[in-house]
């Protein structure tokens, strides 16, 4: 009952159990945080708006994105993955979400930022429905913890629209 093997086994089981409980409590502590993020996106310019040879509309735009996401960080946050997606409806599709730009925020200091950028990923529709269409720009964030449960939420900004004609 007191041999080396039994003692080692007992020690390992105990330490793994304690580590698991610590990870669970760490993850639960994230629920105590009440975040209050804010964001603003301006579409500075529609660079071009064309119909591709295959028949799908494609648009390239430049945006000013500013946000303050500092309140989302807790001691258990490893990084924040944020992205801006355009959301719109077409006759064939009830929902289209196209990610235009994303970034990783590694720490609280970097969470308050302003960036002037064109879309990182191509904005291509399934079809040619974009002329004159209204769309929302949503800023999503995914909190990736050091351990435990991942959270995600978003801010929806409305009132954007495509030009009536190709250019």
């Amino acid at each position: 009952m007191h041999s080396f093997g039994y003692r080692l086994n007992g020690l390992l089981t105990f330490s793994v159990t304690i580590l698991a409980i610590m990870c669970a409590i760490t993850s639960l502590s994230d629920n105590l945080n009440t975040p209050s993020p804010s964001a603003e996106i301006q579409v500075m310019n529609i660079n071009w708006f064309q119909k591709q040879p295959q028949g799908n509309d494609e648009v390239s735009l430049t945006m000013n994105i500013s946000a303050d996401l500092q309140t989302l960080f807790t001691w258990n946050t490893k990084q924040l993955f944020i992205f801006v997606a355009a959301e719109y409806k077409t006759p064939k599709n009830s929902l289209n979400q196209v990610s235009l730009w994303d970034a990783i925020i590694p720490s609280k200091e970097h969470a308050k930022f302003w960036i002037h950028t064109s879309n990182k990923y191509r904005f291509v529709d399934q079809g040619n429905n974009l002329r004159g269409k209204e769309f929302n720009l949503t800023l999503h964030w995914h909190v990736m913890p050091k351990t435990g449960k991942m959270f995600a939420d978003k801010i929806v900004l409305t009132g954007y629209s495509f030009p009536e004609e190709y250019r």
Binding site: Q79, N93, N96, Q97, V98, S99, Y121, H140, M150
Partner: protein, 180 residues
């Protein structure tokens, strides 16, 4: 003569009983592990409720050796979710983020495009020949939580199978030689 015969018989019967009870307890341990695994599959609704991150395509968020807890619900797939999917013809599932979603008005079916956070391009190169989008049936679950480093045990055992055999051999030896 009769006394010796009796003693030998009693010794043999003790050893057989001990052997049998050890075999039964080993069987119980293995089956309870299986029951826990299958129960997890039911609770999370996913074929593999826990996966190990094998590549660096989601760094710095998920590193090689982390484990991810998956959950599959009927909720619609939306951009930004980290999903685990199987490509037809590849057996290893891939864990990447959804960057484009097109959901059909009439059928509710969805076209999904994914990309690893650390990759420059989207996953179209990884999909099957001619496939441009993923559909719901390709997706095995969403990542909802994670534990760092714990998956290295699985990676080591897969990449150096000799360690797996040594471990099983040692465990087997321990079970046989223990007095309990």
């Amino acid at each position: 003569m009769g006394l010796i015969g009796d003693t030998v018989d009693s010794i043999k019967s003790i050893q057989t009983r001990q052997l049998l009870s050890q075999a039964v307890s080993l069987g119980m341990i293995v089956t309870s592990a299986l029951i826990i695994w299958k129960a997890l599959m039911c609770v999370t609704g996913s074929e593999s409720p826990v996966v190990v991150v094998l590549s660096g395509s989601m760094e710095p968020g998920f590193k090689r050796g982390d484990i991810l807890f998956l959950h599959m619900s009927n909720a619609p797939i939306r951009a930004g979710e980290i999903v685990v999917f199987n490509v037809d013809g590849r057996e290893i599932p891939i864990v990447h983020r959804v960057i484009k979603v097109h959901e059909r008005q009439d059928t509710g079916e969805v076209d999904v495009l994914t990309k690893g956070d650390n990759n420059n391009g989207d996953d179209r190169l990884l999909y099957a020949q001619g496939q441009q989008w993923l559909h719901r049936h390709h997706i095995m679950g969403r990542a909802v939580g994670f534990l760092p480093y714990v998956g290295w045990v699985t990676i080591i055992m897969t990449e150096k199978p000799i360690i797996k055999y040594i471990l099983i051999g040692a465990l087997g030896l321990l079970v046989i030689t223990s007095k309990d």
